[in-house]
Amino acid sequence: MSKHEQLGLNKDQLLEMYDYMLLARRLDERQWLLNRAGKVPFVISCQGQEAAQVGAAYALNREQDYACPYYRDLGVVLVFGQTPRDTMMAAFAKADDPNSGGRQMPGHFGGKKYRIVTGSSPVATQVPHAVGIALAAKMRREETVAFTSLGEGSTNQGDFHEACNFAGVHKLPVIFYVENNKYAISVPLNKQIAVENVADRAIGYGFPGVIVDGNDVLEVYRVFKEARERAAKGDGPTLIEAKTYRLVPHSSDDDDRSYRTREEVEEAKKNDPILKYREYLLQEGILTEELVQAYEERVMKEVNEATEAAENAPYPDPETVTRHVYAE
């Protein structure tokens, strides 16, 4: 049996995951182009982490679960229902941005209709929020699981620790997801943490810590399915660490040449999760070269249309700047 059969994933599902990954990548690339052209002030990327994100979100229940993602999680929010148009509205800071109506930088996801919880910039603050959502689910006897993600550097924040501990003590249905891309801006792993695996931190909180290859979307899907089941069954939290790599600078304001070699980046590109997954699907006969081309075209069309729509969309009315401070 091939991997995906073991996982019970059918062809449509496999292709849907491929589609999400590709879409995330192309939307991301487009934002860089727009940034370099002076059209959008800021980009923060998912590039290199698409498998880690799509595999994770795809294993969740998008009707029941809540996502408290972090700024790189374009792959996650697409699976949760955000559209290319949403992404571009946020990039251009237009009124129709579903995350914040253009109030926040791109990458600060949110949207009640998508079950995506509004996020902020200070890292790791979303982690206790996810625990609170899990607590509410437990109290209301709902089969909701809370998902939250963050970078490995951000696991050094006190909030991560406090939230994990709280969830461990109360056995809450929450999945803590660390996308370990080996850098926190310029600071390499060995200056961030003194252990090999962030997953080991789970030991201190009394729940399992799982390591997964973040370049392998099906493996990510597998461990997430398991974690979600544990959570839904009342067996408590799981910490999952995906080993991954950020293929581009930290953000459009960063220049990564000062802290990592081009060779290292080139080497990492060989493990590009999209290429790896494409190969798998080709091998399994689920993708064909023609299909690859067709997906590419459709995605680019979506990206183009979204870009155009957003570019031409109205900015928020300046008068609205004082709205929504308190209930109106």
């Binding site: 109030r103 949110g110 009640k112 902020s120 609170g132 959502i133 109290m139 909030d159 406090e162």
Partner: protein, 327 residues
Amino acid sequence: MAIKTYIEAITDALAEEMTQDESVFVLGEDVGVRGGVFRATAGLIEKFGEERVMDTPLAESAIAGVAIGAAMVGMRPVAEIQFADFIMPAFNQIVSEAARIRYRSNGDWICPLTIRAPYGGGVHGALYHSQSVEALFHHVPGLKIIAPSTPYEAKGLLKAAIRDEDPVLFFEHKRLYRSIKGDVPDGDYVLPIGKANVKREGTDITVITYGLMVHYCLEAAETLAKEGISVHVLDLVTIKPLDEEAIVGAAKRTGKVLIVHEDNKVGGIGAEVSAIISEEALFDLDAPIMRLCGPEIPAMPYSPPLEKAYLLNPVKITEAMRKLAEY
């Protein structure tokens, strides 16, 4: 009507809100079997069970952060911070998160969270069990802050806070818990957030204050009444949003304003009250706006003579009032 202590009013408000709304729950350190170190949650675990009266791990940022998460999905958490002094580790969650959730999501998400904390000194609590912390938050749009001085207001406003759609910091002066009793109506009632209350009508000078100091100011006013000085006392009750109309009205009434708070002066609540008055009522003033506050020291010491030196009392307040009246 029944005569209740301040802390009974708090406990009653919690119990009633938990009874009438299933989504209300209490969380904090020692709030469960112990009923809170001040016993504000006494009896609740017996009534509502340990899930709704939750002893949390010792971690204030998590208490606030978890409560925020629960509030965002429709619960009505009432978090207790054991002493207001220990709200500092939760500062990021309160200021960067709770206060900004509605705004940053363009009204999509809300955070109906109440945080209760006993504050204030005069109980041999020393530097870290005596502080007033309201001024550290009053600059933050998105928050509401309440600091009632009577059992009646405490109950009606705690209920209002719990039902409010936005995050509310509810500060209870720990000296009031058992020292102040008062009439509390039977049954359900809610008081409006953002309304200052006149606690004594007067014509010579205006005193604007809140919390424990309300009682000291009333005592001082009583003393001065015997000397023929008539003092108008306005209790702010809500610290944020300030009741600007009531403040300006009270200032204009006598033209002489003394602002009194236990907390130290620089950047305190009194600074904003003063600034409002000199923006809106400058030409109605017959004397400089005076502030009588705690000294500019990091916090209140333990040793009795030092604690006494820090604290305002009716005598010190009487003196300041007299000085202003004579101006």
